[in-house]
Symmetry: C2
């Protein structure tokens, strides 16, 4: 079976798994659970849970122990989108052609559904840790840090603060490492930790995730300038319109493409130093960088 077909199958499996971990739409708080589940349903590629599950496999995991963590990671990713879309933040009414959570359920429910997803992610993980013990605790701790005030939330804060102001490459890297790389690092590291990987291996995976995230984000910036609108499914030149500084505005398309190649090579080299392999995971990480949409 070719890569794309396998990926589609895995995505569908993850969608079914997510449904099992999301809250039932019942009780007086039904609308809250509906808004949470709607938010997750609007999302799409399930990259982060897929990477977590594949990293778990790569390090020898062969049961369902990683599933609650994969589901929780997708909830964390989703809550960050729901809150980013709020009027006080990016003020977006649509995502992937569908109404954003606050556009559909009102602003208060957008805030509460985001809070609900973040809290529920830790509820699901806490319960799994009670059953699984040390490896679970380590994985949860990794995800909490990567999603937290030195990780994803820091990236969002600094991005908001600096939008429309002149930026340096250093600042851009800071933001990309936190807004994009952090959860990818978390996915790789948490999956491996659940299978018992040690600190040295987690540190290699952290670097892999970092390079992949940076390359992914630069690729995003490039596609926003020279991509194919029909493939991307969204209009080009949004960064220019939002006066957003990117790698492309800083160093131009050609050098930006060179940087993507460089970072993706480094990621693969690092991945190859590990004593385990998972060809699908490797291809998945590379596909994020070579993609045309």
């Amino acid at each position: 079976m070719e890569f794309e077909q396998v990926k589609r199958q895995k995505t569908e499996e993850i969608n079914r798994m997510l449904c099992r971990f999301l809250p039932e739409e019942s009780g007086k708080e039904k609308v809250l659970c509906e808004a949470m589940n709607y938010s997750v349903a609007v999302g799409g590629k399930r990259l982060r849970p897929m990477i977590l599950l594949e990293a778990y496999k790569m390090f020898g995991g062969n049961d369902t122990a990683a599933q609650p963590f994969a589901a929780a990671l997708e909830m964390i990713h989703t809550y960050s989108l729901v809150h980013d879309d709020l009027p006080a933040m990016d003020n977006d009414m649509y995502r992937r052609g569908q109404l954003t959570t606050h556009a559909k359920y009102g602003e208060a429910m957008g805030i509460l559904a985001g809070d609900g997803l973040l809290n529920y992610a830790f509820e699901v993980m806490s319960e799994a840790v009670c059953e699984q013990g040390a490896n679970g605790a380590k994985a949860m701790s990794i995800l909490a840090k990567k999603a937290g005030v030195r990780g994803m939330i820091a990236g969002q804060t600094v991005d908001l603060e600096w939008t429309g102001k002149p930026q340096t490459k250093e600042l851009l890297d800071y933001i990309n490492e936190r807004k994009t790389s952090a959860l990818l690092c978390g996915a790789l590291m948490a999956g491996a930790a659940l299978a018992g990987a040690g600190e040295a291996q987690l540190s290699v995976l952290e670097q892999v995730g970092n390079y992949v995230g940076l390359a992914f984000q630069i690729k995003d910036d490039i596609l926003d300038v020279i991509g194919d609108e029909s493939k991307l499914g969204k209009p080009l030149h949004s960064d220019e319109k939002n006066e957003k500084m990117t790698y492309v505005t800083l160093i131009g398309v050609e050098q930006a493409e060179e940087t993507v190649r460089e970072f993706s090579n480094r990621a693969v080299e690092l991945l190859d130093t590990l004593p385990y392999e998972n060809p699908f995971l490797k291809e998945l990480l590379l596909s994020l960088i070579t993609r045309e949409y």
Copy 2:
């Protein structure tokens, strides 16, 4: 030493402890950490962490293992206030005479600081669980549930949905049990779980917390009608102004006071069935109900 003096001392100890667990205000994300720490500093009575620490002692805990959980619980309580104060929710500019987080740092930072506190609470607890193992995992799981979509967030959702609409006593109890009792139950149960309490004892504490929370909230409603403004430090009749249904509007001051007495008696009776005691904790719980401010 009399109760009030001991309580003041304990509050100051908790304030010092909180400072040790909150994020350092450094790095490019400094303003985020400032907004988080400001939010916690504005808060005051530290009831929830105090109850958690005292429950831990009551069940034989005699070290610092409960501290990260007590700090995390206060972060969770604080994030809920920060998000409740947002313009899309209660739209409050002041709390205890100081600017609310979004009023001081802007709405986007109000959202992010709340997210940061909720995530950081679990970051701090996850790290503690890695060191402490099973009892820590149980405590974290309890707090996650009580703060979550069937607990505190559900209460906030239903409260928002029904404000200004006719309510029943059943609905009022539903909201109070989740908005007020849930975190008090969590404090009692998590503290006891950290000291190794079993399910039957946790279940008794859950009932105690429930009665105390309900009595506390009804007392709040009573004080809003017949309290002393100078002692309360806030104007009376806010519920009436906000067209808020309360126990007082439902059954009148006299019967509401009877209910407070009844619930507080039941809480004490339940507490007395446990094979441990902590006179300070008992007095603290009763003081929430007999208070005049």
